[in-house]
């Protein structure tokens, strides 16, 4: 009723090719973004710092992996390490050049992880699927080894940890202990929106089509004139760039200090699960996946005791933790049975139903 295209005429090719052809979609998106900014002013510290900032950071990392795995069809288990490269690069850059705005360094640190991604993406021309996953696993272990063993990366800090120095934007601290969750959130949100916009343009344009052609059948893609090496390496570079920026945001705007073990193989798996559950080859799916995997356990941790306490059942933090594990596992299986193509596909179906609502045929 509210959500349909009747009466919206497309008079130009550009309008026909728009990413959001429906006016309702555009309004909805604007509302979501406006609400996201509004949350910075109405949300409390816990919501911003422990829920929304990590959610955005994970969404960005999942988007990065989605470009590689969902769009270009290249499986990678090195996401955690590529995030780490971004974080360590940002730390080195901002401690070497403290006067340059840190936002520039966060964005620049992505290029370092892009370079690492290209290097470890080289085998992708010869190997595919599970074999490529093993090759990227090597990247994960090698880079993690570097994070532990190269003290230069942490400026010879005795504890081997990354620390987040004080950095400001327009005189307001955005990094370091004095930065409020609000300013951190605004910075992360703005960066994530900008990078999502760029990613959206990439995947809907010529480059994205090249990736998808390679994903669907690389021999056919080669025959129609797509250069495989360049295309695959570009996918690695762009994907690692996003992961790198996400890693820098993770350490400096979320944790505010971290050790190497943040970027371990588990991190890679978690991001991969986000991509698979959210939906391969879908940008919005990256957000859905991050929400399901990251926010759901937090919500369960609040809801389970709240539901049980009226019945006089007081359960310990450890039981909640076990329940969280079990419930998240069950929900993931349930979602995958209900819709193997991920949450993004569910979202599509919902939109389709909404179009004909309330008179389905």
């Amino acid at each position: 009723m509210l959500y349909r295209e009747a009466g919206q005429y497309k008079t130009t090719y550009a309008a026909d090719m728009a990413i959001f052809p429906l006016r309702e979609d555009r309004i909805g998106l604007a509302l979501v973004i406006a609400f996201a900014y509004l949350l910075a002013f109405i949300g409390n510290g816990f919501l911003l710092q422990a829920v929304l900032i990590p959610f955005l950071v994970f969404s960005l990392a999942a988007m990065g992996l989605n470009i590689l795995t969902g769009y270009a069809g290249l499986l990678s288990l090195g996401t955690g390490a590529f995030m780490g490269v971004g974080a360590y690069a940002c730390y080195k850059l901002t401690s070497a050049f403290p006067n340059v705005n840190v936002i520039i360094w966060i964005l620049a640190s992505g290029f370092f992880s892009a370079a690492a991604g290209v290097l470890f993406g080289l085998p992708s021309l010869r190997i595919k699927g599970f074999y490529l996953a093993v090759a990227t696993l090597a990247a994960q272990f090698f880079l993690q080894w570097c994070f532990i063993r190269v003290p230069w990366l942490v400026n010879y800090n005795a504890s081997g940890a990354l620390e987040s120095p004080l950095r400001t934007l327009f005189g307001v601290p955005i990094m370091g202990a004095t930065a409020t969750p609000q300013t951190r959130y605004l910075v992360v949100l703005t960066l994530v929106i900008a990078l999502t916009w760029i990613a959206s343009n990439l995947v809907h344009g010529r480059i994205g089509r090249m990736w998808m052609a390679v994903r669907d059948m690389d021999i056919a893609a080669e025959l129609i004139g797509i250069r495989l090496l360049r295309t695959k390496l570009l996918a690695f570079a762009v994907s690692s760039y996003y992961c790198g920026v996400a890693g820098a945001l993770l350490v400096f705007l979320w944790y505010g200090g971290a050790e190497y073990d943040v970027f371990d193989i588990n991190q890679s798996f978690i991001i991969l699960f986000m991509v698979i559950i959210g939906g391969l080859g879908s940008l919005i799916g990256s957000f859905f996946g991050a929400a399901l995997i990251f926010i759901m356990p937090i919500v369960l941790g609040i809801v389970v005791p709240a539901v049980l306490s009226p019945f006089g059942l007081r359960i310990g933090a450890d039981v909640i933790e076990h329940l969280r594990f079990m419930l998240v596992g069950v929900l993931i299986i349930a979602f995958l049975i209900a819709e193997p193509h991920g949450l993004a596909r569910l979202w599509q179906i919902a939109k389709q139903k909404l179009r004909v609502w309330p008179f389905p045929y």
């Binding site: 409390n44 510290g45 816990f46 710092q49 422990a50 990590p54 401690s95 403290p98 532990i148 400026n155 800090n157 005795a158 504890s159 081997g160 940890a161 620390e163 987040s164 120095p165 004080l166 370091g176 202990a177 004095t178 979320w254 944790y255 505010g256 200090g257 971290a258 050790e259 190497y260 073990d261 943040v262 371990d264 193989i265 937090i298 919500v299 609040i302 809801v303 709240a306 310990g316 933090a317 450890d318 909640i320 933790e321 076990h322 594990f325 209900a338 819709e339 569910l346 179906i349 919902a350 139903k353 909404l354 609502w357």
Partner: protein, 440 residues
Amino acid sequence: MSFRNIAMGVAVAALVGTTALPAVAQDSVYVPLFTYRTGPFAGSGIHIADGMHDYLRMLNERDGGIGGVKLVIEECETGYDTKKGVECYESVKGKNPVMVNPWSTGITLPLIPRAAVDKIPILSMAYGLSASARGDIFPWVFNPPDTYWDGASIILKYIAQKEGGIEKLKGKKIGYIHLDASFGKEPIPLLEQLSKDLGFELKMYPVGAQDMQNQSSQWLSVRRDRPDYMVLYGWGALNSTAIKEAVRVGYPMDKFISIWWPGEDDARGAGEGAKGFKTLNWHATGTNFPALQDVIKHVVDKGLSKASKEKVGEVLYNRGIYNSMLIAEGIRNAQKLTGKKVVTGEDVRRGLETINLDPARLKELGLEGFTSPIALSCTDHNGHRAAFVQEWDGAKWVKVTDPIEPMTDRVKGQLDAAATDYAEKNTGWPKRTEPCDKQS
């Protein structure tokens, strides 16, 4: 899945999302405990968590809290995971906690700069950043009674004692097997310095957190290198595995000395061969203290504890008791200093700074002889107390030395350098503005 189901799901989720957290009652003091009863470090974490919880619970049951104010004790499960620890911190921050006990060096590090901003003191008892012992630079962080550097120097002193003098260390080969994270890396600069100064050879065997339970390669190297002594800095499954592997490769147990973290379960798992294994400690084991008897009477026997009775008095359980004793003393001092009953994090920071547990005070607490006296001050947030060596006899820990003082002369320079270095690297590190209180 029909659209209606999705809509229902969204509605339920929205409803659930708005459920507020239960507020903390006014006339109480909120003490969050970051614990881990799950994950690879749970083997150590459970006993610590039980000890911390039970002592505070005992104060609630026996005395009605501290100074007539009930303690609200809430555990937050971290799984020894930095991510979850930071989440826990954010979730307790809004409820006016009087302090946080991160129980993980990895969680402590990101919290250190926030403590001064959020006005929540950090009690990282004998872990965390060694340099935070300097109260003038880290007014909000406390790490009594020893730093990891003190621990390393005490172990070396003990080895020197056994060899018959500090100069006998020359030419000796000392192996250092450690968790390859900030915790295990902390003492490395000191050990390296001392190896230069004292002339012993240092061999490192780092164990990554992911292969804690598979140390065969490290112990193969140990067998090849044949170090005269082995020093262990481990936690969780690392300790039990290291002891087992040491037994398996036949490393002489009496030359295997650990920092204060292995518990009974770690040694017991290695069987008979673990006899003679040594660790540092600074408090007693067993339940032969009035306060511990009260814990058993008021908490454990009433079924209010998660610990079974035979675990009470084990070394890690008592470590938790020691931690909670400091928490309680900090709150009590804060009440005395401010005259308020319901104290805040700022008050408890002052309370912790004026901790003075002399023998008389320990006796009052029902912990006479439980530990050696300790006093903190505005400049010294650690105490750098002496620790003794205890040996595993196959069933329990037996104290085998008198308390050994750390090599303060050698450690202090390093500590000061590290502290000033930290403040320098973190541009904008605040100067201490908190005034100093007199000892209470």
